[in-house]
Subunit: 229 residues, 2 copies
DNA sequence: TGACATAGTGTCTTAAAGACATTATGTTTG
DNA sequence: CAAACATAATGTCTTTAAGACACTATGTCA
């Protein structure tokens, strides 16, 4: 067993599940594939690591997202690696999936190999022809987002820099698919010490709403308890 | 940009952080490296994926652990991917780190390229010459284990098939580095419905202790709250 | 100006963990 | 053999943070 072994290398790719919430709907960024395999099908933005451009896989994810949308996510973390001999017709494939959040913005529809980027409501995914096992990866990602939302305020990254409690509440309710007590959210906002009270308020049909923003140095706090499921 | 690009491929490896608890000490399995790079240093068991032998990266992790120890972990999950141009002198490298648990057992010291496997107390790691960034990976892993122990009963995988509450309590206390109320643990054991009460008890210096075992079909339950830190 | 809408607070209830005394049941020892 | 001791297991009160929901605050609009 000692000595040099000849080992065929698997394909290694980095893909991202970029979520946003818009009009009370959870949406995911998909690109129409310009090339084989799965030409014409919708897939996750991603690609191969470029060891001259990327310092690490996080950079690969960011670079590919920027290429296809023109913007950078507010939040990015690793989801997991999916691998197997049959998930890519070109051969044994290993994909590192990332999970990312951004405030809603229109996609710059940057032309990269004529790939078209688009926000797709996750509820509409089953009607689409999707590439590889990307449907399952999105589902995994959705569950992770939901779980993290129960014990953190991660959904702030789906909002603009200044936001109201009402907006945050709506985004959280969309993600966890449950109503949430405003009181519970306010308690967490205060306890986390992650936010600053802006000196502005905005109109929203009734009493003016206080604007909040993330502190510059804020780290995402994990609470000791989950919201009840 | 369209068309075939020539992309240099990074090295892709799978490494595992296998923990056990023995004599109230958290230990990690390390192997003495028989080859370059870092020949003679201690490193995590792992290696390259073999696309003829492995259906996926989980199998790679299991295979490499079995090669070096002769046994299979009770629990295995992905930790995270670490990547960069400088972490391996051979070039840009991508490692998928796994995190695993097993009941303590003597290592079969299986001879694979004259590599020697050994349980190292995590507190003694800083005195050792370790390969690559494996020290940091172990530290990451330790934090993940600690965190998960606060909201699950994962440490049962560090115990033999039949175990007592006292044993489980000791293992948990070793991992979280805090005392734990026996009452709290018993409540969780009951609420989780993961365990069966054996018809045996064993002596432990005082009143006989009830033996428990994991139900055959048991899934690890995640509790809604953390133990207090 | 009064109805309405949304923002924000007060406070009681509830669920699960922490603290700790008490009971149970074995082994060891005088 | 009984008393001391050790560890197991339970009872129960306290504490903490979320849920429920009524109530107050303050804006817009008819």
């Amino acid at each position: 067993m000692a000595g040099q072994e000849i080992i065929k290398k698997p394909l290694f790719t980095v893909d991202s599940v970029l979520f946003t919430v818009h009009e009370d709907t959870l949406k995911v960024l998909m690109v129409k594939r310009a090339q084989q395999p799965f030409q014409g099908a919708w897939g996750l933005p991603g690609g191969f690591i470029d060891i001259d451009l990327d310092q690490n896989t996080d950079m690969t994810a960011r670079r590919k997202l920027a290429d296809k949308t023109g913007f950078t996510p507010n939040y990015l973390e690793q989801l997991q690696v999916i691998s197997g001999p049959d998930r890519d017709p070109r051969g044994f494939s290993v994909t590192l999936a990332y999970f990312a959040l951004v405030a809603h913005q229109s996609v710059a529809s940057h032309i990269d190999s004529v790939e078209m980027a688009c926000w797709i409501p996750v509820s509409k995914l089953k009607e689409l022809t999707t590439a590889f096992d990307h449907r399952q990866i999105i589902e995994l990602s959705r569950q992770r987002l939901k779980q993290k939302t129960l014990y953190s305020l991660l959904p702030v990254f789906c909002l603009p820099q200044k936001f109201t409690i009402g907006q945050l509440m709506a985004v959280i309710e969309t993600i966890i698919e449950k109503p949430l007590q405003r009181k519970s959210l306010m308690r967490r906002i205060e306890a986390s010490e992650m936010f600053e009270i802006s000196n502005e308020k905005i109109s929203s049909g009734g009493r003016l709403a206080q604007l909040y923003s993330l502190k510059l140095d804020a780290n995402i706090v994990n609470f000791e308890r989950n919201l009840s499921i």
